[in-house]
């Protein structure tokens, strides 16, 4: 009895009352939970962040295929990896991929995997624009925006279970499965607007650090702002991001003056155009 009381007291420390269902509590589960409570943390280690990201990335790849063009994939990885080297987390296993999808969007999952759709790539005009978008996504990873959104939405108990789970353990990890599923859903709801503005603010700096014309991000945002908002390829991006006009207004205020010294950095438009030359252009594409 004493043990159970101690157990419940411990559980109470980590789980809000509402997150608790005593009806499902059995001793085996409770003991396991105690082991996690001993770790008394919902902090996710970097390997776990990567593992969670891999699960979400796998789901993304289940929703849309990879573009079958190794040259383009390598090109995007080169741009992205170079930008990641300019950041505070240069040693994450950064990986980039183009999804063969006509939607206009880009995504970053925890741990450093970043996706961009073919639809977005086709609307860009220079490597600096690609760099701007990748740098925005890299910023989400640096700031762990999605990880925090997942944490916020998940029950403390589940986070604690995942945090306490040793990575070496083989076999199914129910907590990971649940978090991957919840994590994937975060991408259909989107982040807090301020996280998006923060990623814009950091993205232009990272692009400038990489030696690019830092106006690539506002340039592609402006291009998208000119697309008919009824274009169905923008539906998910519009739902999950602040209005483009607001994002442009913010960059307008931020960049004025502060970025003058980077005015002559290259945008590498010719290299970009050569790299994506084999892709269909949107105007020629059958919708």
């Amino acid at each position: 009895m004493k043990a159970i009381i101690l157990l419940l007291a411990l559980l109470g420390l980590t789980a809000p009352a509402t997150a608790f269902d005593f009806g499902n509590l059995n001793l085996g589960d409770a003991l396991k939970t105690v082991q996690k409570v001993q770790k008394a943390t919902t902090d996710i280690s970097e390997p776990q962040e990567i593992e969670l990201g891999n699960g979400i990335a796998s789901n993304f790849l289940g929703a849309a295929p990879l573009l079958k063009d190794q040259r383009v994939q390598k090109y995007v990885n080169n741009v992205g990896r170079w930008l990641a080297l300019q950041t505070e987390r240069p040693d994450l296993p950064w990986q980039f991929a183009v999804l063969d999808d006509n939607d206009i969007n880009a995504f970053a999952v925890p741990g450093g995997r970043i996706f961009i759709t073919k639809g977005l790539l086709e609307r860009m005009k220079s490597e600096a624009e690609l760099a701007g978008v990748l740098a925005h996504e890299i910023s989400h990873v640096l700031m762990k925006h999605h990880l925090q959104a997942i944490k916020k939405g998940a029950r403390t108990e589940l986070m604690s279970e995942f945090a306490g789970q040793a990575l070496q353990q083989k076999g199914a990890n129910p907590a990971l499965t649940k978090l991957v599923s919840a994590g994937t859903e975060v991408y259909t709801r989107g982040l807090d607007k301020n996280d998006e503005f923060e990623a814009d603010r950091m993205g232009v700096v990272i692009a400038a650090r990489g030696g690019y014309d830092p106006y690539g991000l506002p340039a592609i945002l402006q291009t998208l702002q000119g697309i008919n908002p009824q274009d169905s390829g923008l539906a998910l991006m519009f739902k999950t991001h602040p209005a483009l006009i607001d994002r442009l207004d913010l960059l307008d205020k931020l960049m004025s003056g502060a970025f003058d010294r980077f005015e002559t950095q290259p945008n590498l438009a010719p290299r970009f155009m050569a790299a994506i030359s084999k892709l269909d252009k949107p105007v020629n594409r059958k919708q």
Partner: protein, 171 residues
């Protein structure tokens, strides 16, 4: 609901997707049309707020535009695409919101849901694809390779701190 979207589908097919050159934009503040893309270049004329221009090309923070027959340069971020009288809105307003209702299925419409790979529904129902994840691993490049790629493009690392949220601009 349905007729509106049928109309939209037809209209979207007919109108080519925006390419920036030749597009109409409007100024979000009174600004000067410069002879060259420099702040201290000669001023060709003044543009009022909500003045319409035609876009020619971009060079860093400058956009080459045509205004009433005069070609010159204005700051890119002093422009928004579209018609100044009815700026294109996105996000939670106007037609974008109308569209989102359709896309999330709340209206009972199934106009585009499921047609494209990355729709909300497809993401929610996505099954993992570990094989594709493996293929993606094969695209990764090393730090050294990325540095070589940057060098080939004459990209040089720069020192600059992140900007504060308020963003006053200026040095």
């Amino acid at each position: 609901m349905k007729p509106i979207f049928t109309l939209c589908v037809v209209a979207c097919l007919l109108s080519p997707i925006a390419t920036q050159a030749g597009e109409i934009a409007y100024t979000v503040r009174a600004t000067e049309l410069k002879a060259k893309p420099f702040a201290d270049a000669a001023t060709l004329r003044s543009l009022a707020e909500h003045g319409k221009v035609e876009i020619i090309t971009r060079q860093a923070s400058w956009m080459q535009v045509k205004s009433d027959g005069t070609t010159g340069w204005v700051k890119m971020l002093s422009l928004r695409l579209g018609n100044g009288d009815a700026p294109i809105k996105s996000g939670d307003s106007g037609l974008g919101a109308l569209f989102n209702v359709a896309a999330t299925g709340n209206s009972g419409s199934t106009v585009t849901t499921g047609v494209r790979g990355l729709s909300e529904e497809n993401l929610k129902n996505a099954r993992p694809n570990p094989q594709a994840l493996e293929t993606m691993n094969g695209y990764a490049v090393s730090k050294e390779a990325a540095s070589g790629f940057a060098k080939a493009g004459k990209l040089k690392s720069q020192q600059i701190d992140y900007l504060p949220p308020s963003g006053k601009g200026g040095n």
